[in-house]
């Protein structure tokens, strides 16, 4: 099993005028290929900051971050954009689909950015929508889909490019219980069937219970990192 994410001494300091806030304080973390991990902690503990840094959306103030062996702290903005495109899938709390594109086009968009041929990308996008149980809803725009359906499209989009890791920030926060359960099951099934690595920042106990690894972050440091062989079903 290879290491997908490797953080060494990652720190992040935000400055607001004369005030400085340490969001991460020398954090060490390794995510292995195939992990299905939750990242929990109180508000302001640094979960989102960590996800942003791992996703190449933000840069650490200190330390090194390697994604699939590549130190991303040395990459320029374009290289970071390429990294996000090729290696990282994102699932956001607020779905964040492109409103003028249909479900299938949202998924296809990533593949189009990657330069995939039209037939191939349409086939892959349709396959991913089937995978997340949205077959038949291909041509609906986000506004015509429910919250749960939009989040499924977001998952399909995140997986379309076969990324090294999917980073999800509170993916169930805006969903009702039933829809949240379905989404967790979906991600769990995708993790088991395709070996996709998931790291989810969450407060949702149902997500935490279903993951095989549970990381708790407090005051910008890893407080606990627990591996479970058999998560709750």
């Amino acid at each position: 099993m290879s290491t997908i994410v490797e953080c060494r001494g990652v720190a992040k300091r935000y400055r607001q005028g004369a005030l400085s806030v340490d969001a991460l304080r020398g954090l060490d973390l390794q995510i292995e290929e195939g992990d299905f991990a939750s990242l929990a902690g109180p508000s302001g503990s640094g979960k989102t900051t960590l996800l942003n840094i791992l996703g190449g959306l933000d840069r650490p103030s200190a330390g090194s971050v390697k994604i699939a062996g590549e130190d991303i702290t040395k990459l320029d903005n374009n290289a970071l954009a390429d990294l996000r495109l090729k290696r990282i899938g994102f699932v956001f709390q607020a779905y964040n689909l492109i409103p003028v594109l249909s479900a299938v086009e949202n998924v296809e968009f990533i593949l189009q950015l990657l330069g995939a041929p039209p037939k191939e990308r349409r086939a892959r996008a349709t396959e991913m929508l089937e995978e997340v149980a949205l077959a038949g809803l291909d041509n609906r725009r986000p506004a015509q889909l429910s919250g749960g359906q939009q989040q499924r499209v977001a998952v399909a989009r995140a997986l379309a490019s076969r990324p090294a890791i999917v980073l999800a920030d509170e993916p169930t926060a805006n969903l009702d219980s039933k829809t949240a359960e379905d989404l967790i099951s979906l991600m769990s099934r995708l993790n088991e069937s395709s070996g996709v690595t998931f790291l989810m920042a969450t407060h949702d106990q149902r997500v935490i219970e279903r993951t095989r690894r549970h990381i708790v972050i407090t005051d910008g440091r890893i407080a606990s990192d627990e591996r479970r062989t058999r998560p709750a079903s």
Binding site: A81, D82, I98, V100, L113
Partner: protein, 407 residues
């Protein structure tokens, strides 16, 4: 090309997220461009009309006189008819048409009134190639030969003299000996033109004018049109070399007002283009800035998904290009439609004599110049896209983290 295929549908659909704003911007651009194009057509027509009114009445593109004639147009400043090198050039392909004239100040007298005129002795067949006045002889007939005994007067002059076709008028001039010479002519034709031309000019055969003034074979002027206006400078050089002792000038110096009117209109179009563009640019930049500010979160998302900032800039620039493109197509179409609504030209009759004051004819011949239409449309489109690069650049500078953190 792949990038365009990716961004074009996205840009097009984004345009219609706020149809009202898009339609308003398209209207602003199209009305702005319409005004530029239509004004350009109108002013070009006006300029052409002004030029034609000047050049097709009495002034040629080039006029040759004896030195001092333009300041004192009398028989004292006469010249020999063209010969030698000058005649060779006048009969060459570089010259479209030329005519020799006797043109002197005179007095015309009817049984009721005496009025000042410019007596013009012409060779009718040569004159027809240079001036529209022979064709504008509406009553009676124009002169038939250089030896014709009749006189052709302007409609207004006929009215003021209280004369008519078939009656006789007496023309008095100062001859080459400084004596007063007079001769009666039968009114054979009445022409219509501008009020000033109708009042001023009276046409007789050149032989009659020469014998009346004592000029013998001499003339007052040679008027000519070049075969090609662009070759006018070269023709001028050749004429000056062939007749260095004569005063040779183009219509630009002989009729400076007409020339100023024609060049002013060209400059006015350019000035109008910039004024309209400045107004359009404010609208375009404002619209695109609004569109960018409303979608900051989305631009953050696009970058988070792996779209490079350059592509975000391209996407927003494409939106602007499409938006302005729609306005440009609509504006150009509207301008063509407007021009085609006047197939027989724009009748300035409602301006009465006002149009004459700035040298225009009664009917302006409106024509679409495809090259000019394309040029102005392309300029407006390109400048609009350049103006909209600022909002596009701002969109590309959005930090994904900050943008995604916005509610």
């Amino acid at each position: 090309m792949d990038r365009l295929r990716l961004l074009l549908p996205l840009a097009w659909r984004n345009l219609w997220r706020n149809p009202r704003r898009t339609v308003i911007t398209v209207i602003v651009v199209s009305v702005g461009l319409w005004s530029i194009l239509f004004f350009s057509v109108l002013l070009n027509a006006w300029s052409q009309s002004s030029r034609d009114t000047t050049l097709k009445m009495m002034t040629g593109e080039v006029e040759i006189h004896a030195p001092g004639y333009l300041d004192d147009p009398t028989v004292a400043h006469r010249m020999a008819p063209p010969s030698g090198a000058l005649a060779q050039i006048l009969n060459s392909p570089a010259v479209k048409a030329y005519a020799s004239r006797v043109r002197v100040s005179a007095i015309v007298q009817s049984e009721y009134k005496t009025l000042p005129i410019t007596l013009t002795g012409v060779t009718p067949e040569k004159e027809r190639a240079l001036s529209v006045l022979p064709a504008q002889t509406e009553d009676g007939r124009y002169l038939s030969t250089a030896h014709d005994d009749g006189i052709v007067l302007g409609r207004n002059l006929v009215k003021r003299l209280k004369t008519r076709i078939g009656k006789r008028v007496v023309v008095m001039v100062q001859d080459t000996d400084g004596k007063l010479a007079e001769r009666a002519f039968e009114v054979i034709g009445v022409f219509s033109a501008s009020q000033q031309v109708e009042n001023e000019f009276a046409f007789v055969g050149i032989s009659g004018a020469q014998s009346l003034t004592g000029l013998d074979q001499d003339i007052s002027e040679i008027v000519l049109d070049a075969a090609n206006e662009k070759s006018l400078p070269a023709l001028m050089n050749a004429l000056k070399a062939a007749a260095p002792a004569l005063d040779i000038q183009t219509w630009r110096t002989i009729a400076p007002l007409a020339y100023a009117v024609s060049t002013f209109f060209n400059e006015f179009v350019i000035m109008w283009l910039w004024v309209m563009f400045a107004l359009m640019a404010i609208g375009i930049v404002n619209t695109q800035l609004m569109a960018v500010f409303e979608r900051v979160r989305e631009f953050g998302l696009l970058q988070a998904l792996g779209m490079r900032p350059r592509l975000v800039l391209l996407e927003v620039a494409l939106e602007s290009a499409l938006l302005i493109g729609l306005g440009v197509v609509a504006g150009a179409g509207l301008a063509v439609f407007t021009v085609r609504a006047f197939p027989n030209g724009l009748d300035l009759g409602f301006l009465a004599r006002g149009a004459e004051l700035v040298g225009a004819g009664r009917v302006l011949d409106l024509k679409v110049d495809p090259g000019e239409f394309f040029l102005y449309s392309a300029i407006v489109w390109a400048l609009g896209v350049i103006a909209a690069l600022w909002p596009a650049w701002r969109a590309s500078r959005v930090s994904p983290v900050a943008a995604m953190g916005r509610a």
